[in-house]
Structure formats: structure tokens, C-alpha cells
């Protein structure tokens, strides 16, 4: 059952990822990315990370992707002309595809090596356990992250002011 769910949602994630590359309209790509986020949330649940699955849906699919969709509609990105490659940069696309193929080769190598056995029982990844670790061992990164979010908020407001 676990294996069936894994392969189903892995296939959905890869299909949405390829759809992201192939689509011309940015809104379609944004919706494909939401599909990837959702299937990744299911994969986190399969790995026993329940808090992270919920955080993934709330933060990534529910906030970040909505921000993307708003900005795409704000800029009117669908009115872009069709992408034609400039003559002096025509070598970039085959190079990118070659590098992607090399990366895929490395991924295939990971398949060929002896696999690591999955841990027999899931770790306790409830919000209680994460909170215990977050506020003791990782207290300093937590505070720094809150300062980072404040800086991002101030920056976003400053960059979009009228004057």
C-alpha cells in the first residue's frame, strides 16, 4: 500500500514537473507547481512527517503559490509575445538539456547503488516533538528566522511603494 501510494504520487509529481517546463502560459505552470507541492505533502506523510506535510500545504501551496498567481495576473504575463531565441544565445538551450541529462545520469547512478533500508518505524514527528527541538536546540535559528521574515516584510513593502 505504501509503495503504491509512493509511486502514484511520485508519478504525479514528475508529471506536474514536466508540465511546468512544457507549458507556455505561466498560470498553467503555477498550477502544475501547486500539483507538485500537493504530491510532495503526501510523500512527507508517507515518510511520517505529519507536521511538515501540513506546513507544506499551508505555507507553500497556500501562501507562496497564491503569491505567484497574484503576481502573474498583476503583471499580465500571459500577454507576452512568443519566446523566440536570440541568435547569440542559441547554444544555451542544448547546453541546459545536456546538463540536465548529466544530472539525470547521476540520479540513475543513485538507483544502481545498493539501496538503504528504510528505517523500521517512523520517528515521532508530531508538532510536540518538533516544538520541543525547535525551542531548545534550534532556538537561535528560530529567532534569526523571525528577524529574516521581518526583513522580508519590510523589504517587500518598501519595494512596492508608489514613491
Amino acid at each position: 500500500m505504501d509503495a503504491f501510494l509512493f509511486f502514484l504520487f511520485a508519478a504525479i509529481a514528475v508529471a506536474c514537473g514536466i508540465n511546468l517546463v512544457v507549458q507556455t502560459h505561466p498560470i498553467s505552470s503555477a498550477l502544475s507547481l501547486i500539483g507538485v507541492m500537493g504530491s510532495l505533502a503526501v510523500l512527507y506523510l508517507l515518510l511520517g512527517a505529519e507536521f511538515l506535510a501540513a506546513a507544506q500545504m499551508i505555507v507553500y501551496a497556500g501562501a507562496i503559490m497564491v503569491l505567484f498567481v497574484f503576481v502573474i495576473m498583476l503583471l499580465g504575463a500571459e500577454k507576452l509575445p512568443a519566446q523566440e531565441t536570440r541568435p547569440e544565445m542559441r547554444w544555451q538551450r542544448p547546453l541546459a538539456i545536456g546538463l540536465g541529462a548529466f544530472l539525470l545520469l547521476q540520479v540513475g547512478l543513485a538507483l544502481a547503488l545498493p539501496g538503504m533500508r528504510a528505517a523500521p518505524e517512523p520517528i515521532d514527528a508530531s508538532p510536540l516533538a518538533i516544538g520541543m527541538k525547535l525551542f531548545t536546540t534550534y532556538l537561535f535559528p528560530f529567532e534569526v528566522a523571525s528577524v529574516l521574515l521581518l526583513a522580508a516584510m519590510v523589504g517587500a513593502v518598501t519595494l512596492t511603494r508608489k514613491d
Binding site: 514528475v14 503576481v71 503583471l75
Partner: protein
Amino acid sequence: MLETNYFVVLAGLLFAIGAVTALTRRNAIMMFMAIELMLNAANLALVAFARQWQQLDGELFVFFVMTVAASEVAVGLALIVSIFKSRSSTDVDDLHSMKG
């Protein structure tokens, strides 16, 4: 039955798709979405290894990666909006005024 290998291979595959997208698309928002895809692939690898080695630290790292990604998206999209309000194209190849 579910080996950690499978999750790592899927993470590598998603990262490769994100990398190719970031390199071949010239729309700034498309490049941003490819970066988000790469970040998610790394998150998946982190959670898989957190389960493998029975340590919660990997999942906490994912928590912080999500935080950083959220703030990066906020500032980056604000930048894109303010740059491309003055021009009419979102083509990154048009941004060459700092070219030495």
C-alpha cells in the same frame, strides 16, 4: 519495501527538472518557479534522510528552508513587480544595463 533510495531518486529527478527549467526559460517568473521546485526537491531529500537516520533535525532544517523560501519569494516577487512595472517585458535577457 519503501527504500530511502526511491525518495532520493525522486528528489534528484525533480531537481533536474527544476534546473533545466531555470536554465531554458527566460521569463523571470518561470525561473522563480523553477527555483521553488529545486527547493522542494531538496526538502524531500532532507525529510527522507531524517527518516532514514531516525533524527528529527532534518525535518527542522526543512522548516527553516520553508521559512527562507517564503521570505525569498516575497522579496523576489516584489523586485520583479517593481522592475517590470517600468518596462513591459518580463524577459531577463533585457536586463543588461549593468553589463560590463
